[in-house]
Symmetry: C2
Subunit: 493 residues, 2 copies
């Protein structure tokens, strides 16, 4: 796939002098329109062979366009940065640009798999996994509206050798060729073979790799500049990007009308004295587990969802009572802030992902996408339809990074909900807990049931299973919740 | 000042059992009102003698109130955390709570000065500096509307010894007493003497230390709980907090009407050929400086302000052209986001403070407070009046952390501005640079002049001087800007 990039492409001075000002002007104009309309973000990856002009291209783009609206991310090699406590993709999530902005990555999610594979630290099977992760991440980006452009700057083996030699010759530039560079030149074929594999597997319809010959600066610069211009212009001029067909497969409608929620035995209960004994016991157990040495290499992400008035708050409180307040955060999920709205949906959850040795408790969660947002039509079917896969992927990444993921659905019967709503209206200090919205949601009880069942069917995975909690009896529910967390953590440590 | 906290205060079981439920309910109610109204944040510091119940208090407050709206910050000892690249206060700024939220700090801006002074790593004079910094930081917090509550949990020497012994005796709690704890018990008097000094100097009218005897858990808990309740209630019930008298001293009105801006020789200019030669030279020099080893221990914060159409963007562009795009960020200051609006004014600048080895270029800056916000009355005189001091303090902290701070005011004449406005309206690709707001601002030319002069008089400090740039000639201005940055950086390295 590098053949066309070894033809010795060149652009002469005259043509460059003629094309460049026009290109710059058009790029700048497009950029300002992008900023002003604020409809989508642009992510540009610049990868390629060392010496092929990655750094130069980055600088040039910042010079051609208005650098105030560009953010540049030169990721340090993983292992050297500060984010090793979090899943590998965290460092990229945190710097995703908002709508209207351009982010350029030199060193991206491709760097680590490439280097590690070349050095033999990653087996082919593992490389395959990395590629899958990349594909899912990029699909999420493009589905969320990001314009993703991937450039690969290529040099032939000869070209690379020539480049290094010419740099090394002059005193002024000699420092730019490191020992590692010379070593990598020796490994040229290995690099090429892994790179080709990576590029081939990740050249998708929506974000193909654009391979550019890097030897001639003028050719390289104009080619990249024009590609970026064309892509941004095209999107600006055709703002209704083709809606991707929802990836929601047809759902099995149970012919007998029986759902997993119906199967829950909501009559289960625990007496007060028993509850108090067992709660103290389980809280003590959970507390001790979080004090163990092994906990420092783990983190916990707990998501609480449930019917209105099912007792999420109370259950969360019984968990936090057991924990040292220095070790946990409770994150209540309310309406997104404007910084959150400008970025892909999962961004506002990624930003709260805990470091090792910490527990993040989400009061409502990323499942809002397939529950309230689906039912209230805050997003379209293509959006919530793909959310199941994105969520599974998100949780798998957490688990892979030694996070224990627990998810609770607290279920009560429709009658019990009515009883609690009325109680809340009557008791003074509970009135803040009931609003007209709760009553409106109640009318959609059946819609929620369908959405909940689909959510559980599609997102209860081996690594991050859903725990359904029979919550008509609060004591029973709280015990089940805290016991589940303690069990999961114990099993992990 | 610890005498009253060694009286052996106790609360018996009966009274506790009676008071506690009522207190909890009142606290929770106050907290929900706080959240709902979202008018001010609450910051609670819990400091004191080891073993006096800091951790227990933190946990208790999270249990009594709704932990979803509390954030807990247990700062690791500085030197162990990830933020050593930034000024010491950065780690606190980044976790300041938004309006409506409560943040509890166990381990705060007092921890480091206290420990270091006890261990003799900080001379008395330096401790004095730390205290000044703390006073300024806390005054900023309270001026910005934060309800700041500071609790100091005290134990007598005997009390501390007793506490440690009783913990060490039982197998279940023995791990809680560390070697450091025993060592600190030996140093009790030293700790007390430094603590007393610290507390005395930082007990201000608005945020005095509340010393609480820590020996009796019930006494301690009720005392702290009631103090918090009372303080929050008081503020909720009297939302118009007494406006602090503006700290704007009377300004000297020059009798002859002459200002520093009038003294600028705006006719200074450079020919095109000269400009191009010198620009290349200065850009090369700046580039080389940022490649030096010494640069990795420095950072640069550059703020650009100036009349409309004075050429800020063009000047910034000439600077960034000289830099490796991996080393700088340009931060355009526009309207604050809602996350920014919920926090103290300077928060949105602190979040962009660069790590070492990096350059942050602010296109417009924190000086907006004393320029546009003052003139357009976006904030009151008490707010912009105190901003001068807050800004000087902010910049001093940067400089102290090895940041080179450069600040440019680009000045053009009123006639030159008119010429440029008209030009912008005429040339197609410049039209996005001129709006009706620019014309409106122009009418306030004289007001801006007064504000600019006051800003320069009060914020041009030795550590972070203002550079006034005569900008009628763009070439001259750009050269002066880039030369100033290169000189400042060269002097620093």
């Amino acid at each position: 796939m590098f053949e066309s990039a070894e033809l010795g492409h060149t652009i002469d001075k005259e043509r460059y002098a003629q094309d460049e000002p026009e290109l710059r002007h058009a790029l700048l104009t497009a950029q300002y329109e992008l900023v002003k309309r604020g409809e989508f973000p642009v992510v540009i990856l610049i990868g390629g062979v060392d010496g092929a002009g990655k750094g130069e291209t980055l600088n040039l783009l910042n010079e051609w366009m208005d650098p105030r609206h560009i953010q540049t991310n030169a990721m340090r090699p993983m292992g050297e940065d500060k984010f090793q406590d979090r899943p590998p993709m965290w460092r990229f999530w945190r710097v995703l640009p908002p709508k209207g902005r351009i982010a350029i990555f030199v060193g991206s999610w491709y760097s680590q798999p490439l280097i590690k594979r070349v050095y033999g630290e990653l087996k082919t099977a593992k490389l395959g996994q990395s590629i899958d992760e990349i594909l899912r991440f990029e699909r999420m980006l493009t589905d969320e509206g990001t314009l993703l452009l991937k450039f690969w700057l290529h040099l032939s083996r000869k070209g690379q050798a020539k480049r290094f030699k010419s740099l090394a010759k002059k005193k002024k530039t000699a420092w730019r060729v490191s020992d590692t560079d010379w070593k990598h030149l020796e490994m040229y074929d290995k690099f090429q073979s892994v790179a080709e594999h990576l590029l081939r597997e990740t050249s998708t319809a929506e974000a193909p790799w654009l391979v550019v010959e890097g030897a001639d600066e003028r050719y390289r610069s104009l080619t990249i500049g024009k590609s970026i211009l064309e892509a941004i212009r095209k999107r600006l001029d055709n703002p209704t990007r083709p809606t991707r067909i929802a990836r929601t497969p047809p759902r099995i409608q149970p012919l007998d009308g029986l759902s997993i929620l119906d199967r829950l035995d909501l009559t289960q209960s625990v007496g007060k004295a028993d509850y108090e004994d067992q709660l103290a016991l389980e809280q003590g157990r959970l507390n001790m587990i979080t004090r163990q040495k092994g906990f420092e290499k783990r983190s916990v992400v707990a998501a609480f969802e449930g019917c209105d008035a099912a007792g999420k708050g109370g259950a969360i409180r019984r968990v936090t009572q057991a924990l040292d307040a220095r070790k946990y955060d409770v994150i209540p999920i309310a309406a997104p802030t404007d910084e959150e709205k400008a970025r892909p949906y999962l961004w506002r959850f990624w930003r709260h992902i805990p470091e090792k040795g910490r527990i993040a408790i989400f009061d409502r969660s990323w499942y809002g996408r397939v529950l309230v947002e689906r039912i209230e039509k805050y997003c379209g079917e293509p959006d919530w339809g793909r959310a199941y896969g994105e969520i599974n992927d998100f949780e798998a990444q957490l688990v892979k990074n030694d996070t224990v993921v627990v998810k609770f659905w607290l279920q009560i019967s429709k009658e019990e909900q009515l009883r609690r709503f009325k109680e809340r209206e009557e008791i003074a200090f509970k009135q803040h807990k009931i609003t007209s919205e709760d009553w409106r949601n109640r009318e959609k009880w059946d819609d929620y049931n369908v959405a909940v069942c689909e959510m559980i069917d599609r997102c209860s995975t081996q690594v991050a299973p859903w725990t359904l909690v029979e919550a008509n009896d609060k004591y029973f529910a709280r015990l089940k919740v805290i016991r589940t967390i303690a069990d999961a953590l114990e099993a992990a440590i």
